[in-house]
């Protein structure tokens, strides 16, 4: 195709601002963070420019309370990661269970009303995440409206202990990222050709069999994209665990934040934890991209 609109020679100057801004304020910072993770910590925050693997050592290895025992695997931080992965996975599952029927329902509405349903689902996403999390906390706290109502109609005698539990954190994550699950599944179901369902029905397949055997394999890319869009931000979430959880629900986000705020701050360690989190997310994303290209090739 000829260059009919005449922008071909201009791509470099047009893209220069993007390269400079994102490159300088995001790409370079990540590189600097990688360097900081192998420097020596300075007390009261900051670093000393001496190479040291102390941060990674602190994360993975323990040598006992006085540092004189044989090195063993340090489980403290690995278990925080493990718990975060679990929390994020359960929140993703919760989003999937609620999000799939919702996406399906919206995608099968008449074309005019679909936009309105989608709009209703996405509005809460644009409301400040902090405000949404605080609102949820207000609703489910011990003396909050939910517990008052439950006790009022006599369903429970005392308040349900919801705040500061794993369930509250999952609920918060679910509440934060649900639209991310609904939208890609909606896009996949909207493209689904219902002739396949009809063909299966003609061959005496029940509707749930059709859903399981025909629909799910076809809309799977949408489901996987949705799961990814919920799982990745949940993994590094800070507000939901911090406001809705307690000490027992400590997640990666809080661990990182502590290294930069508290009096016990340790910048290289915080940078190292952030690097490990980012590597984890990259592995998930690369695995997804591989699977997606493979599925496309088929």
């Amino acid at each position: 195709m000829a260059d009919r609109s005449g922008y071909r020679g201009l791509t470099a100057p047009l893209l220069l601002p993007t390269w400079v801004v994102i490159g300088l304020f995001m790409l370079v910072p990540v590189a600097v963070m990688a360097i900081y993770s192998v420097l020596t910590k300075e007390f009261r925050g900051g670093v000393i420019w001496d190479f040291s693997l102390a941060a990674y050592d602190q994360f993975f290895v323990t040598r006992g309370l006085f540092g004189d025992e044989a090195p063993q695997i340090e489980w403290t931080y690995i278990s925080i990661f493990w718990r975060s992965i679990w929390q994020a996975a359960l929140a993703t599952l919760l989003c999937l269970i609620v999000g799939f029927p919702t996406a399906w329902f919206i995608a099968t509405r008449p074309a005019q009303s679909r936009g309105v349903w989608l709009f209703l689902i996405t509005i809460p996403y644009w409301v400040n995440l902090l405000i949404r999390t605080v609102s949820l906390k207000f609703l489910i706290r011990d003396t909050g409206p939910l517990n008052e109502a439950l006790m009022g109609i006599g369903l429970t005698s005392g308040p349900l202990p919801l705040v500061n539990t794993n369930l509250a954190v999952q609920l918060g994550l679910f509440y934060s990222y649900l639209p991310f699950m609904v939208l890609p599944i909606y896009a996949a179901v909207e493209r689904y050709n219902f002739a396949y369902s009809e063909a299966a029905a003609d061959l005496y397949a029940g509707r749930w069999t059709i859903l399981r055997e025909i629909v799910l394999p076809i809309v799977r890319p949408g489901i996987i994209a949705g799961c990814l869009l919920v799982f990745v931000p949940s993994l590094g979430a800070f507000l939901a665990p911090d406001l809705l959880g307690g000490a027992k629900t400590f997640m990666i986000g809080s661990l990182i934040e502590e290294q930069f705020k508290g009096a016990q701050g340790n910048w290289p360690f915080g940078a190292a934890v952030a690097m490990i989190l980012m590597s984890l997310v990259l592995i998930v994303l690369i695995a997804y991209a591989r699977a997606a290209t493979k599925a496309e090739a088929r």
């Binding site: 922008y7 936009g115 409301v127 400040n128 605080v134």
Partner: protein, 266 residues
Amino acid sequence: MKGLRHYPGFLPMTIGCLVLLYAPLIVVMVYSFNGSNSITTWGGFSLHWYVDVFTGLEAARFGAAARNSLSIAFLAASGATLIAVAAAVAMVRGGQFRGKQATFALINLPLMVPEIVIAVSTLIFFSAIGLSTGYLTILLAHLTFCIPFAYLPIAARLQGIEDTYEQAARDLYATRWQAFRLILLPLMMPGIMSGYLLAFIISLDDFIITNFVKGAGMETLPTAIFGSVKQGIKPNIMAISTLMLLTSVLFVTLAYLINRKGQKTP
């Protein structure tokens, strides 16, 4: 056969989903009109807490935070939109060029990297180059992560505009700049407006990154609210939350309507 589109239980699930999404927001909105000093008991309808937001003890602190939030959102969204328009024209109209894939990845980078990682790396970077944290560092961080949010609707809109209109203008001896300003820019406007509005909300909403790069004494609305909430949820927070909530809903509705109207024209 229509029946295969409908599964029993999917409608109640959707309703349940909407209830879950909206219930906390509605409860907070209702309680922001509570006349009582306590957040647990209902003391009749009152605008007391809205008056308190503007004249109460914390009014000065929240007022300064709101001005910071709005001016940063305005500057960051304006900058990000300008950058995104240029990038979208190059990416959509520029044909194939070296580094296109890499540029696409770069634009989407702020969406891929977890927010907390962006926050940490930005703080470390500013500290390493000796830029002290404050208004400027917040603005630079916001400008960066707003770019993909402005870019996506603009590029989507541009992809839907055929280049025959500009081509016709060029055939009639319009310069490249005239063809852009008089033909392409007006056609892109709905995408630009919704990109701008989305970038504005994203900047207004950000807590995590701002919290890292704001420095001592500097507050935006979310960080000021977070500071208050740590001491317990007070009624004035609910009034502020309701005001912010309505602002966001207003902006998103505008973006939605502009986009929908735009889809009807070429």
